[in-house]
Amino acid sequence: MATDSQLAMWEVFIQSKPGANYIHAGCVHASDKKMALQNARDTYTRRGEGTSIWVVPTDAIVASNPEDNDMFFDPANDKVYRLPTFYVMPEGAKAI
């Protein structure tokens, strides 16, 4: 992979409306916190996408290793009893 010469990388999370979860929008280059926030604003919220922004240095993110996928995720595949699918839905209840 070519070396990235364009400043440090930051991950951008946008909240679309107050109370909503912050969702990963992408990443930007920046040399400091303020620049990261401004670049995130200019890159990802120009069309009214957000009401709040988080930026996090990319190297502060700890990611799972794809090699661990068997151990991490496969055991969840055959535990249907963990899903709340065996209840009878009360009549009229919608937000469950």
């Binding site: 400043l7 401004q38 670049n39 890159t43």
Partner: protein
Amino acid sequence: MGDDALIHSYRLSEWCSNAPILEEDLALTNFSLDMIGRAQALLTYAGQIDGKGKTDDDLAYRRGERQFYNHLIVELPNGDFAHTIARLLFTSVFEYYFFAELLHSADITLAAIAAKTIKEVKYHMTHATDWALRLGDGTEESHYRMQKAVNSLWMFTGELFETDEATAVLEDKNIAVDMAVVKTKWKQEIERVMKESLLEVPEDEYMQTGSSNGIHTEHLGHILSEMQYLQRAYPEATW
């Protein structure tokens, strides 16, 4: 002020695909779009007051160089990135205090435009200030370039605060703003930013002037010849 927004917008749009990094490319062209919106609002209103049925497009595309009243500083070529930032710093700080005063204008349309504009300009000012700090207090090269830009643009800043009989009449009616107030605040803020950025404030020596009478540098004609080409070559052309 409408012409300032239009011509400065044109200059910033020239950074499209040329900025140092993609994010800055978006920022500068985003400011350019803010300014187009401001130009549209102000020129539309100017056309209405003029009462001759002229639209914002008529004013933007069908006036000659001598009929433009933008400050000279906005028509100057972009130069390097430091030059663009120094200009944006000088003009956005000016615009911030100018529109802050215009919020209290007796003219409700101007006050409403000021209310919308000041949010945009505040961001332009923050962005320019941060870059001035990074470049001024950066490497030897960035400091040199930033100081050079400040020095070469300084003689174009005096014009921002000029007043004439027309603005005096409007000021008496509480429509226009008190430029002395704007100038004091501008100077204070610019001196603060310069100090923090380890840059020297140039002496007030010879100041360029002329734009309030439509006298421009040689650069405006070149902008207009490109900007107005389509409307001049194909009058009434529509999308």
